[in-house]
Amino acid sequence: MTKEQPTATLAADAAEVVALPLAKAINRAMRDELAADEKTLLIGEDIGALGGVFRVTDGLQAQFGTDRVIDSPLAESGIIGTCIGLAMRGYRPVAEIQFDGFVFPAFNQITTQLAKIHNRTDGAVRVPVTIRIPYGGHIGSIEHHSESPEALFAHTAGLRIITPSSAQDAYWMIRQAIVCPDPVIVLEPKRRYWLKGEVDLGNPAPDAFTAQVLRQGTDVTLAAYGPLVPVALAAAQVAADQGRSVEVIDVRSISPLDDETIAVSAAKTSRLVVAHEAPTFGGFGAEIAARVTERAYHRLVAPVLRVGGFHMPYPPSAQEGRYLPDIDRMLEAVERSFAYQSAGGHR
């Protein structure tokens, strides 16, 4: 495949709006950060000449050299552990973990070290490491290539976790992650890498650590993130055709969680459905449900309902169509939410 020609200068790009697939938007964001700050480095498996298995780093090593776009040994704990040392010495390393299912050899370095160092040192040491992880299913792959591990990281204080769902968000959230003084895990919805969208290079997306209402509605709130946001928007459209007004929220940030935005919406619509690909049992939807229930209890006419994966290892992808939440599963939950009211809801 031919390499994309590097853009000459950052300044020439200002105020430009470009249509990019989500993966290219991330590529562009990293290129712009590499150009803006020589302390920014990329490190990961196959990210150099190959440009990563999803080509997200395509052309970056050619432009910035092997010292700044580093092909690592095949060792995830090594990638994160060395990123910590680099960050301590003043660098802003951006690590790529090749697939969600391969982050676990680095789980120790992420949870016992990276997350705790700022706190452990009473704020003396900052570790601005960004960890990019392609996550989620629906790509027809083999085991360990389709998982959604966000809840496992959300439980660890000290980490920030964000997940974009559009090219515009992907571009700006990656840039915000890289300049953030805290460790940030960016969960990239791999099945949306090829989803094209407009990126406004001169007009930042909203704060990466906030939720956003993507579609106004009055009857029920549907909160989703990452790969399921387009599904939620499509479900809302179908529901609208059936006479239900669904408000759609892109959660965007897992940690911190912008529970305010979700609770305000749920209080307005009086119903909330949360959707994610990860299993619902012990999943992040439970955290959203609990927090929104505490904040909007008297405004809710139905329990917060969850749509997600089942309590099983991610199935062989030949069966992922039945495992993953889709439009129908979301609509089923919406209808179930309404059924509570007709069964004697109090509002």
Binding site: G81, C83, G85, R120
Partner: protein, 382 residues
């Protein structure tokens, strides 16, 4: 064999020794020269640091027994390995310690109070790693080996981009400390792969004290730990870790080569932990009196003192002076521990993240309100 690969000879399994157990010098064709011209001041300094550390260790152990510390990790018996090695390095060389590097920490100027904050569980770390070029005590074994490799990558990056930070030098060495038990951890393997692949200026320093809590060395390795380096393509060497002169000379030699661009090196200091792993275990349950006695005869402080006295370098006046200094440090330690203020929980909230985090802020505010409620109750009779 491709040009990128290198074949490294296995180290001798006989540790390098410059000072025999009897306190007499043993000549060595490579290493003797590193100690031949050391001034009396330097030689006495090594003695002083070892004695002070040993006294410090005794005091800390008794403080733990008296309930003043949550835990203590004795380093007695390992003074020569630690003092010899740290004395051979420059103050700009970053140290990534285990949790037993007390002699090194004190050598670098970390105070007794700062060091004890960890063990009184008053703070997770009592010092700013940047101020001493000495990292936090790493409690998850071997995690620091990768941080050391990353720091070393930063040195190379600084040099290649001409962006050395203030107070930094181009020929820094990174000391990655490990124990024999930790060498079984995967992070050590990954660290050595990175260090070798990128030819990083890392000196791996394994203090083989023969016991990982209750598990003997043979459960970790059937080959000398120094031999592992050859598998990664760099040199490893065994040194008598109870010989402060050999520990100094070997570290000086290896560090010099690293500064000249050799890439990583490994030193296995063969030593012995005279006390318990921590104050939470009982070593009589897993090792024999005979074994402990055999290592007492190789005591690093007594051996070195004997040589210094025979050479006429050490006199009673200096011995008394060091003993007084050690006693003072022990007294200061006791005072510091008694007066130590733990970190406020508010401060813990404030340092979870560098920038505000919604959930942390909400919980901090909630705790404040909750506890204020108790304050209002004061004076109310129940």
């Amino acid at each position: 064999m491709s040009a990128a690969q290198s074949e490294v000879q296995l180290a001798s399994s006989v540790p390098v020794q410059l000072l025999g157990v009897d306190g007499a010098l043993v000549g060595h064709p490579v290493f003797s020269r590193y100690v031949a011209d050391l001034s009396d001041e330097v030689l006495l300094g090594l003695y002083r640091h070892m004695v002070v550390e040993r006294r410090f260790d005794v005091e800390a152990t008794s403080l733990q027994r008296q309930g003043e510390l949550a835990l203590w990790v004795p380093a007695s018996g390992q003074e020569a390995a630690q003092v010899g090695t740290i004395a051979a390095l420059e103050s700009t060389d970053r140290v990534f310690p285990t949790y037993r590097e007390h002699a090194m920490a004190l050598y670098r100027g970390i105070s007794a109070e700062q060091l004890m904050a960890t063990f009184r569980a008053a703070k997770h770390t009592g010092w700013d790693p940047g101020k001493f070029n000495f990292n936090w005590y790493s409690i998850v074994l071997a995690s620091q080996a990768l941080h050391a490799a990353g720091w070393a990558m930063g040195i190379k990056q600084d040099v290649s981009t001409g962006a050395l930070g203030e107070g930094r030098t181009a020929d820094e060495v990174v000391l990655a400390c490990l124990g024999d038990g930790a060498t079984s951890q995967g992070d050590v393997h990954e660290s050595m792969v990175f260090a070798s692949s990128y030819q990083l200026p890392v000196l791996y320093f394994i203090q083989n004290n023969h016991w990982a809590i209750s598990v003997p060395l043979k459960t970790q390795s059937r080959a000398p730990l120094a031999h592992r380096a050859a598998g990664y393509g760099f040199e490893g060497i065994r040194v008598d870790g109870n010989d402060v002169l050999a520990s100094y000379a070997v570290a000086k030699h290896m560090a010099a080569q690293i500064r000249a661009g050799s890439g990583p090196k490994l030193v296995e200091a063969v030593t012995y932990r005279m006390g318990a792993h921590t104050t939470a275990d009982d070593p009589t349950k897993y090792r024999t009196d005979e074994e402990v006695e055999s290592w007492k005869r190789r005591d690093p402080v007594a051996r070195y003192r004997k040589w210094l006295e025979a050479e006429g370098i050490l006199d009673q006046q200096f011995v008394d002076q060091v003993d007084a200094e050690a006693a003072q440090l022990a007294a200061d330690l006791r005072t510091a521990v008694h007066e130590m203020e733990p970190v406020d929980l508010e401060r813990v909230f404030d340092t979870v993240y560098a920038e505000p985090h919604r959930q942390v802020q909400v919980e901090k505010a909630w705790l404040k309100d909750y506890e204020a409620g108790f304050a209002e109750d004061q004076g109310v009779e129940f």
